[in-house]
Amino acid sequence: MHANSIGRRFLRAVFFVTAVSLAANVGAAPLEPVMSLAAKEKALLLDTLKELVSIESGSGDREAPRQDQ
């Protein structure tokens, strides 16, 4: 009887410590609608990247050497 009681207390303590530790490591939930809007922008951002990298914008004054020279 006494041994069972100590065992239950021990398990309760382990559960408590684990719960506190998990709570400390996990942040609050993602804020909506920021998360869903960010997800929605993903494909659009890729389209923007395509537009941006399709324009040459080197700030030096030089031209690439031609392969046949």
């Binding site: 993602p30 809007l37 922008e41 923007t48 990247l49 914008s57 080197g58 700030s59 004054d61």
Partner: protein, 372 residues
């Protein structure tokens, strides 16, 4: 020519910022403010400046750059492409992703009708890859006028991070003037600029200081015109890295002092010390705000590394931080790889959502006084 080519991309960015509701203007670098270095192009591209006015009081500055290191003609062989989780393209990591993240973060804020900030300013410059010769003074001015600065250079594929420090970069340029003479018939009439340069390099080779992180290394040298002529000219450049703005003065003075001792008295030793980029220094303000960023990232179950040791490269965030006590944080961009390479520059597509979430939430929390 360079500035004209940059006009096309600046038009695109300006149009997108206008569509998001920004008051947009082009800013040509003021000739009086240009810090000319040995490799500064004759023409520097204009900047795109946009202001989004809100209903609150906090002012937030977002910076990125539109220029790349790539030469004309390279795009044709390396167009945009997607391969799995990677989006490839010239300048995609450095720093076109930064522009894209800013545009789409503003789109998220607009979709929420979030206007609790006093002002969100966007500055996209066109000369970062040539040490921000024409934009540095405006970056510093704007940095001093805002409550927080977020710089959009990319994070790394192997390390999802923000950076609180970046290295300062300087160059020591030595030009030696000697006297030419025939190396076979009358070498004694010449004054060998190459000998003098070698002497100067050797007597300034030990100025690095591991205690302060200061590094000075000679990296480029040239001399002479012909095998049979005593060289009349010689030049060399040393790369200098500092972690504290104050260390610039010290190293410049030390070099000046050392080069007074010449090997060949009749030669002339000219030294130029180019402050190409200041360091971004760790401050209590940027450390505190980065900690807040970590809690935001944890909201989406991600761990954000905060780097407080400079990794060697320099960025515009340092210009923005030069005259302010407000937090200035670097690497709000996507995770990427291969900056300045010619065939392997890419960003991780799966970093788009986390990074949009992070920057949007940071702007919201700074605007609402929840993050300081």
């Amino acid at each position: 020519m360079t500035a004209k080519r940059l006009d096309k991309i600046s038009e695109l960015i300006a149009g997108r910022l206008r569509a998001l509701g920004g008051a947009v203007e082009f800013i040509e670098p003021n000739p009086a403010d240009i810090y000319r270095m040995v490799d500064t192009p004759k023409q520097i591209g204009r900047m795109v400046h946009a202001r989004f006015t809100g209903t609150g009081s906090k002012k937030i500055l977002l910076i990125a750059h539109m220029d790349t290191v790539y030469l004309r003609g390279m795009l044709a062989k390396q167009p945009f492409r997607v391969d799995g989780n990677r989006a490839y393209g010239l300048g995609i990591a450095d720093d076109k992703q930064g522009i894209a993240v800013i545009l789409h973060t503003l789109a998220v804020l607009k979709a929420m009708n979030f206007r609790d900030y006093g002002l969100v300013t966007v500055l996209i410059n066109a000369d970062e890859e040539v040490s921000s010769a024409g934009s540095r003074s405006l970056l510093t001015k704007l940095g001093g006028e805002h409550d927080a600065v977020f710089s959009l250079e990319g994070s790394r594929v192997d390390s999802d991070r923000l950076s609180l420090t970046t290295a300062g970069i300087a160059a020591v340029v030595l030009n030696i003037e000697g006297k030419a003479s025939h190396a076979g018939s009358s070498p004694e009439n010449g004054r060998n600029a190459l000998y003098e340069l070698a002497h100067q390099i050797l007597q300034t080779r030990d100025l690095s200081d591991p205690k302060t992180g200061l590094k000075m290394n000679w990296t480029v040298a040239a001399a002479g015109t012909n095998r049979n002529v005593i060289p009349a000219m010689a030049s060399a450049t040393a790369d200098v890295r500092v972690l504290r703005v104050a260390d610039y003065d010290g190293i410049e003075e030390k070099v000046k002092e050392r080069i007074k001792k010449q090997l060949i008295p009749d030669t002339k030793v000219n030294m130029t010390f180019e402050r190409r980029r200041p360091p971004l220094e760790l401050t209590p303000a940027n450390a505190a705000l980065a900690k807040h960023a970590q809690t935001i990232y944890a909201e989406i179950g991600k761990k954000l590394i905060v780097g407080d040791v400079a990794e060697g490269g320099g960025t515009d965030a340092a210009f923005a931080a030069l005259k302010t006590k407000a937090p200035v944080i670097e690497r709000f961009g996507l995770q990427g790889f291969g900056s300045h390479s010619s065939d392997s520059e890419y960003v991780h597509i799966d970093s788009i959502e986390p990074r949009l979430y992070l920057l949007t939430r940071m702007i919201m929390d700074v605007a609402q006084g929840k993050a300081k």
